[in-house]
Symmetry: D2
Subunit: 354 residues, 4 copies
């Protein structure tokens, strides 16, 4: 059983390699009657696309989405929504250097071992290009579950860390800076740092924080499909993610119960939100928030020793146009996966009581 | 769609409330011919059971497992393995104080909101007692996937943190101390600390580290069912877990690519293991390791203000016999969920190539 | 992936061999708040149990169901419903004659080939005893989907065939005769015939017709999970079933479109019902009806030549207490599977439109 | 949960309406290393396409398949295979007559009821055009599971019925006549009859028989996913199918056990094959054979009374280019669904024993 489908009621199946003719997906389970604005989907895709600023990869890919089915007269019909993004930039590259060799901390080696061979052009299926399909589906999910609001942003780049990110209330600056950090001063610092890293021929990791507001009480399906557990899987399935924590997270492990417990107000809200909006795997109506850690991009513009598929040591030169730091462009991907999770649990929750 | 089934090829479906007649589960997909030792299962269950030491809950529950099907002449038959643990300690309790009121940072409130009512006795389905079924199934999974070795241990209790837990090579002390910490000095400190916390009528969180050795290359199913993504879901589905990180984890987000990349040896192993044994969602043959953060147990032996189901403020007294720190008893649960994930991916991987 | 789970939103997972300690199942996805009467479940089980009349097997099995979880204060809680039926009659049998030999038209041979060995006692997992768990779950499904009414009955035994079974409107006699045929004269003929077949040491096949009334418009999920397609799978999964047809069925293949089309009344009902209540895989509000063909029971009280597990010819004598005709006891099983299908589609349909 | 995915290990998800931009699908779970010949796929599609002979619809659709992913250097890569067939004939039609009215025995009415509205152009998702995607996937499945041979053919058109179709051994004439009947004389009769039916402005039903040879012992997953049960679902999910029977089928219900039982030869084959190649839901190595009943096409070239979406009676004239008899073009669809089922069970069976 392969793993290219996400969700149980609102499901996304994706396909496509970075350098094949096209990538895309099929959404099954979107209820009928949801207004679907294709411009809104394209805007989300544009937030993810290469070449959008000086601190991301300078590849040119328009990433234009086409809807093949499931939408009629501007609304979902209840039938599967097939969509496609044609690859337009995949022709002229030279992949000789990675065809027979394994880039360090890339998936080349394990794909060859698992499948016997691989589409070596640009990473093939293991390329983060696959996440474009997730952004398309996530945008449709967002349109389904409005008025839930999902906002992600960069809260750390390397050691530059925004304090108390879950407490930020003004998101207006996020889309106005290339880092997608909500704080002006920190955004400038991060941008400068990323440029330095790029100049060094290196890359750096970072952290994205995501907040979901207006989530109704009741989403999440114990015991295995707890809301935060599926959110965790969703985030960890994004390329380069190394960790996930929600609410108090790893810091909560240090606390005592008397300090950690969230006491109730009379309306069922809580005075604090160490729970991160989830109790026992079910949303409790408070803001859901979580952090996602990304490793530094593995492709660096430096020469590295590695091995080829005969097990011999070779030297590999860094080539191509790659992101020095993945988190700015990963912000819409984190939002998209969050939307997919919340859409799925919204539909699954309809069966909770008679 | 409810969420009480885990896995796709080796699946576990669990049922049962903490104070009903019994809890148990059904494993479907265990291949035929696996020797199943019921004593081994019982030994794993004993590692999880209450009353095993002075620093855990003093409830008495024998937690005796019975196999109803799927095992014949000491081997799995390929048919579903039904098993049960009868509840023997559920009769005489008084639950008046939680029937109509909502314990802070417990699931009482959200269950009432989602389902309309709940089995309020001892937490019902949201009780960690449910994890006993996971330990049974995990033990069977371990027997299926030997010679993979899975070892979890406590690496932090509150602020007491074992440095470099993934580097520990001697596991012999883990089962010889009630904390399940592999380091003698640290184990003693942690034990003393937990006793103090209990004396204070309080609880404290902690971290469990888990290492899986001898994992073959090739386990994990991109793109959504990456090995670490499903491990993350598995861990986050355990009661009280707040965070998951694998390999370099959150610390990896701070590093540069040149420092983070794992360079290859000629045999395909890597010189470092920031990847935590997983590349692109697929095991690469190195040790898999990860950390799991647990919040402090929500039930404290102190009075707290809370609300009842009419939304009125009430004072709730701490009652009953609860763990002051959940991590010692959670060690076998973390191992069990790891085994379930690896067993499932082992079977799923059989179809990777012709 | 094994196949012991049925349904997608209302799911039943069964376990158990005919001669192990117990058989049972887990229902996941039953919404909270459904009144569950255990006596009603037991009554359905009694319709299936052995020894109920002179024309069925004379084995004695009380088939008493116990509910382990998911029901509290007489209502479903939304958590999984675990249930069990202990086997009480499995001790003293002698299975020497089938341990090493393969009964003709039984599953002995294919189980040995597929799994390497088998629980040979009384058919193990391939025994129709497994359907007891389906009847339990089906009864709970019926309680969920009332006011849908499901009625099955015997419409043929061997060559004795009830004409126009879907037109029968009086079901009152069905439970008043051991054959479960709604027509008094035909029931008597069938009963006499079955007794003669038994006296001959032989068995005979038959047909069950099932009608579901008060089904709302909209159940069924194109394109693969059409209502009649999943009903077909459900029926064909019952032991001994060889064919399924709905509405006009095989007879419809002979007709012309001008004769077969169901013309509409102004209220959306149709003047005829060749569609059998299903159009394009979705219920149209008319009665659903279908026929299920059962082969003759393979165990006959005659000696047959067969082979043993070394491939040598042996003579096998008919032994034990078996049904001369399976259809009377299969009536509640057909109803149960119908209820499972309709319950599942009822829950799945809640997401059809916003 | 929608129902546009078929299979569990080798899965096909389809999308597309008859008159949208394109239809297609995604296959997930095809192992790596399978040689995939796109010409072979196109040849199968050509067997299904409109306009291929004088007795089928005269619409012109080239039905050209494009592969978007999952195939590299002529072999499957183990990643999802995305494919598409662009609709090229969908522009100029006039659908006013069906936009607001419900064609008798079509899915128009139930789609409107279930989803609130529908893509009314040419049947939308309920059009048999959707099966083109199944034929593509089925062809890939056939390439995976060779040397299994699957052959379907027309065994009845209206009352013209081929006797003993499962006994036919010469398949050479099937693709040499437009009816796809293996018998020359009967094929000519059927062709003449279909032409007469068309001249009458009418349609007629029929039966397809399918035989699978060289199927290994062991395919099928009891208890719910018995081989014949999933085959039944697969066939019943094809547009216009009303019934399914395998082996002795409905005729077997008339027999006595002493006549019906298949006695073994010493090599494990059986002297007769009333079982149709399946015992207890598992293939036994004998030929699998089954019959599929198709109703007459609902669109007739005659005026019919029907209702519009306000519930008022209207007269509808037959329009367009439709098949007078669906079975000739359904032959490759039956084969495709058979291949999907056998491919899925082949992969699922790898887990049967250690």
């Amino acid at each position: 059983m392969s793993g290219n489908t996400f969700g149980k009621s609102f499901t996304l199946t994706t396909y496509g390699e970075s350098h094949g003719p096209a990538l895309g997906g099929v959404i099954d389970g979107c209820p009928a009657g949801v207004p679907i604005a294709i411009e809104t989907i394209q805007e989300e895709l544009n937030r993810r696309k290469p070449g959008q600023s000086a601190i991301v990869t300078q590849r040119k890919e328009p990433d234009t989405v086409e809807i093949y089915s499931g939408v009629f007269d501007g609304k979902s019909t209840g039938t599967p929504i097939g969509f496609v993004i044609h690859n337009t930039n995949q022709k002229s590259k030279d992949y000789t250097h990675i065809k027979d060799s394994y880039r360090p901390s890339h998936a080349d080696y394990v794909y060859d071992q698992k499948y016997g061979f691989r589409d070596y052009r640009g990473g093939g299926r293991s390329s983060a290009r696959e996440t474009a399909a997730r952004v398309v589906a996530g945008s449709i999910a967002k349109q389904l579950i409005s008025p839930i609001e999902i906002q992600a942003f960069v809260s750390a780049v390397g050691e530059l860390t925004l304090p108390n990110p879950e407490g930020i209330s003004d998101y207006s600056f996020i889309e106005q800076n290339p880092v997608r950090c909500p704080d002006k001063a920190m955004a400038a610092e991060m941008e400068t740092y990323i440029k330095q890293v790029r100049k060094d021929g290196d890359t750096v990791g970072g952290v994205i924080t995501c907040v979901a507001k207006n989530v109704p009480v009741g989403l999440g399906e114990p015991v295995f499909d707890k809301l935060h557990a599926v959110l965790g899987q969703a985030m960890l399935s994004i390329n380069a993610v190394k960790g996930f924590e929600y609410g108090s997270g790893f810091a909560g492990a240090v606390l005592r119960g008397s300090a950690h417990n969230d006491l109730y107000n009379e309306d069922g809200t809580t005075k604090t939100n160490n729970s991160g909006g989830v109790q026992g795997g079910i949303s409790n109506g408070m803001d859901i928030y979580f952090n996602v850690a990304f490793k530094p991009v593995a492709t660096i513009m430096q020469s590295q020793e590695t091995i080829d598929n005969k097990g011999e040591t070779v030297t590999m030169e860094g080539k191509g146009r790659h992101d020095p730091c993945v988190v700015p462009r990963a912000v819409p991907i984190v939002e998209a996966m969050t939307a997919l999770v919340l859409a799925d649990f919204t539909l699954r929750n309809k069966n909770a009581k008679l």
